[in-house]
Symmetry: D3
Subunit: 251 residues, 6 copies
């Protein structure tokens, strides 16, 4: 019944289609805050994945989403035997698709007692060039995982493993809900201290374009405001401020 | 990307496989409380769909599950144009499959501001012989719908329509989560005042068998307890009580 | 500091401006479900007061909103002495403005341990012609109040009185938040089994107009669907169904 | 480790001390709303058991509390074997103490997936003269139990049995928390449509006394307010109203 | 309808009355924990703003509150045009009042998807001498804002801007609820790692006085306890300990 | 009524039985993640205390549990006078039992407005050799306490003291619920960045044994995965990888 056929031979899951490297590059300067504002103008009311919070301050990532979907555990469809047979475990399969720059996004249904990935899984993911993980749930072995250099957006951490109590991995690279937002496999994720944002792949180029309209004067305004300048004058720039700004730019 | 192909011609969604009528009949005397107890013995720790509550006291239903899955609304995949084109609306398509005795189970993600079905949809469902609806969310037009004779297990009611704010119908007759339990299309639902329970289809016959072990003496015990009898004597039956019971039975 | 001057003489609070009786009349056939749909088309994404639920099934009300706002209780601004001096209690003052057909809407901050109104207050309100009460919180003396004939939309009931624990009445006939929606004094409320909806007063005429576009054929469709008719044919009406409908109408 | 010694022979649990029947009688006219108000004056800020709601409208009970405490289930202290041995089950033992007029109060930790009592247990309780049950959790077999004539204050219902998932009965007639309030075995419970209230046994006589200060004029005021009388005149009574009242009383 | 007149000319909002600098100075040694204890003695049961947590460990602030109130967004009172006209945006206006030492307190209704302030606003606020911000909600651009040297007490962070989804700024320098506590404009805020506390301005002098009762021996006790001393002897000081303390003090 | 007799002379509370030092030593290498996995195999479905989160990253503790139970505050059983009499305060008594290596576990009922321990209490606890504290609630004076070198697993921090609002200390060294798990006095606690886990004392030796099955090859696998090795080959080890591993080990 799940998208993956488990009955006949080894499990095969679909890969995602990745965008050109140049598109991702063009979005790397765009933070999550700018992304949500511009996506609003492009018609997306809320692209924010509310729930997972940044556990790795200062890390900013942009990359395509591999997706993993959990479902409530039911013993007839997830017997213990599956747990002991590694190649049956779908949370491994999503990682098998990892290419450098990929981001794994997981619908763990907000569960706070299941650790979706542990140290070994995340070490492998990092070894394959994975950039970050966004989970509407938890990881385990967090002390070790935090040292791998990955970006982590999580609801929390737990010592429990992923099928210990309530949920089990159900599907790989299918559309999922994460943090109240729809994420399709191959959509882009922009994530930083403010949180994670989904960029629908078909809007990514438009977003990059909108965000490259260079606001040259923002640095100038920032300096002025930090020095006690008047918000009404420097943000946005008044005509009077623009004269100052032109002089500032010439220096 | 959803299971339904929307690009080419009219939408087609899969039907479910229904069990023999006799199997359902054999479960009609089994309430939800007995079902969860027996399913526990069969290895299912929790078959209860926690969240939707009974809105139609006294109504008991048993039947196969048609399933409908909602996802967070995202304007690029659910444009307004879809709303205005009835045949594009997947919540109608799940109803098109209705056969007499069917039960619709909906993963509405717990959303309390979206009315999954309104009066017209439910009237049609009833007209086709539908028995009941279990929703991890709400309906609208509830005053009218309550008069149709359907069983209703809901989180609540709302005047809003289904795609007014946060969610949209995404897939029909796929495995879903509802009330923290996994429901596969074609599983059986037993629902009454205590709530709704999923019976995995491959366990249904075993459940029916276990539940037909007739506890003849329960009515006797019930009478005795109601009359002030001692729990220790009458539930379960002691040897002394069994003698009384045999006499009671002969009368 | 509150909008009411408590220092000098008796408290005076502002009344609301009520719309012509004809406007309210024109909305009395419009239920909350139709109201939210039409308001969506008028640009209001969500007019539903999510939280208060209908405690009086079958009661439908339309009327202008008197508003009452609670604030977290702080002993320096709400001393016990205020409680013992009836004319200092603002929850009485909102009722003093009652005219026949009025509806009181209360922001009780979702508090589940404070009973905003008791039997005497509600009896007075009913005696003045009040229609109903919408509270993002609770009432007390609920057994008596349910017999008054008022419409009640509440989060729950409690034996506690309104300033017993956490909140106190702060302002009368000011804009409030109730159930996650903004309600301005004098806005209209439409409430029934599905819940309560705010109609911004400046949109009320437009809503009435939109809702009076008579859907004559809906009753016909309803009958057909209840009799097992095809949703695709009867909702909305196809050309074939329209011919049937015309014949039906002539009978 | 629990208060009951399970190691040596049959389990014995403590009974409660019941107040004189006359004390309970003197409180039977006092509803929960009056009780919380008067207890506030006696120094108890919040005697309301917030959480369990009335499932049996119109039923009012006053009686001493038998208490039952649940704890999170841990397989080493609650093995399956305990479940199959009825006399090991503590939820039975609390019922063994039932005397006519008793009320069982249960700390079920707010759990929504465990049915504390089923039909047989409640039939026995009723047969022994039990008045009502207050549970910070659920019952099962609710359709049958609602017909027994008991008062029920619950968070909800479920088909699951009491040790199916997360909790197990741990102690009988010990102080418990229920709905955020402390209940000691032998305290009095007053419960009606507004909810359940704990009356510390040592304050019960004072409460009865305070509540018997007869407010003769309240019925008069009620009539006047229902007929459109002025709140400022009739509640509390002004001197002018008192004259009317005296005349009314003479009729 | 809001306190600010938006119809006629530029918006004007009220400033607050600030206490003498000496009063604030006298409270700077008093942490939030001491403040709540002493305020309890002064009759304030709970002065803690529960919800916003400290995001800037080690920063302690004392200062007068500028207040900003959000309301649920409703499209008829907050049209898009307001967003594009900076001088119409009330969240700017509260910052215009900033004097050195001020603290902005915001009722953002607990909303987790709206960023009340971004980098530019907070840079301006810091440039004007602002000390800190307490929000029952979120900021955006958090990576930059954390470097400004402000104290931050927040429920979280988000990339969304303040009117992107559910709320909009409604009033400046009015009484607000924040974290379940009432804050009046001009009240003092004491905030540190434990959280933020409101000091009603009329109690500030009394609090300062109570807190200056010098507990000279506390440092002595602290040393003794850290070295393994007996709590019963050293906290509070016994007579025996007092002798030791006197000796310690002489050294 | 509480386990401690308060009526006659000074309060005495029971101590716990501590396991041999060697047992604790044997568990010190076992983290919380390994502990939950192995306890699952030993029949404990969920040993994780969900709720309290690690506030002291990098700190790992193993030790026996002293327990403290809070109950909802009720003024008749917890009068103000108790607060002012230190030796009546039970939260002090649990600390009196401290031996080096002990861990205090507190059921604070999830309350976010009560600070269970302050600076002086925790300094004393540390002075006696206490290792850490796990609280289903908060501490106060957190800035100071974080510098003591204790491990802290908490739901949060607050400036309020422990009996300021809703709860009061009720019993020492009794079985408690903390984070949805049962903790008996003398059980072992293993806590680190992932959270706190209860090890039933009778399972501690088995857990230690299971965990000492040395997985020598894990470090090897870790290195290979970090370097881009294939998960399918190195985790678990295939035969081919085992050859590599033997060579690696010889180096």
């Amino acid at each position: 019944m799940p998208p993956q056929d488990r009955a006949n031979g080894p499990i095969r899951t679909k890969d995602i289609k990745r965008p050109p490297r140049s598109l991702i590059k063009s979005l790397e300067g765009v933070g999550s805050a700018t992304a949500t504002s511009e996506l609003k103008l492009l018609g997306i009311r809320n692209a924010f994945l509310q729930g997972p919070v940044c556990m790795t301050p200062g890390v900013c990532v942009v990359g395509p989403a591999l997706t993993l979907q959990f479902m409530p555990k039911r013993e007839d469809v997830y017997p213990e035997s599956e747990y002991v047979e590694p190649e049956q475990q779908l949370h491994r399969h999503v990682l098998y698709h990892t290419r450098p720059g990929d981001i794994v996004v997981v619908d763990a249904r907000g569960d706070m007692t299941s650790g979706v990935f542990g140290d070994m899984m995340m070490t492998y993911f990092r070894g394959q060039g994975g950039l970050g993980v966004v989970i509407d749930g938890c990881i385990r072995d967090s002390a070790h995982i935090k040292q791998l250099g990955l970006g982590l957006w999580l609801r929390g951490v737990t010592p429990n493993f992923h099928t210990q109590t309530n949920i089990y991995p159900f599907a790989v690279n299918v559309p999922i809900a994460c943090g109240g937002a729809l994420v399709q496999p191959g959509d882009l994720i922009i994530a930083d201290d403010d949180g994670a944002v989904v960029v629908p792949i078909q809007l990514a180029a438009k977003l990059a374009e909108a965000a490259t309209v260079h606001v040259e004067w923002e640095q100038f305004s920032h300096e002025r405001l930090a020095a006690g300048g008047d918000l009404r004058k420097y943000y946005p720039l008044t005509d009077a401020a623009r004269v100052e700004y032109e002089a500032w730019k010439r220096r």
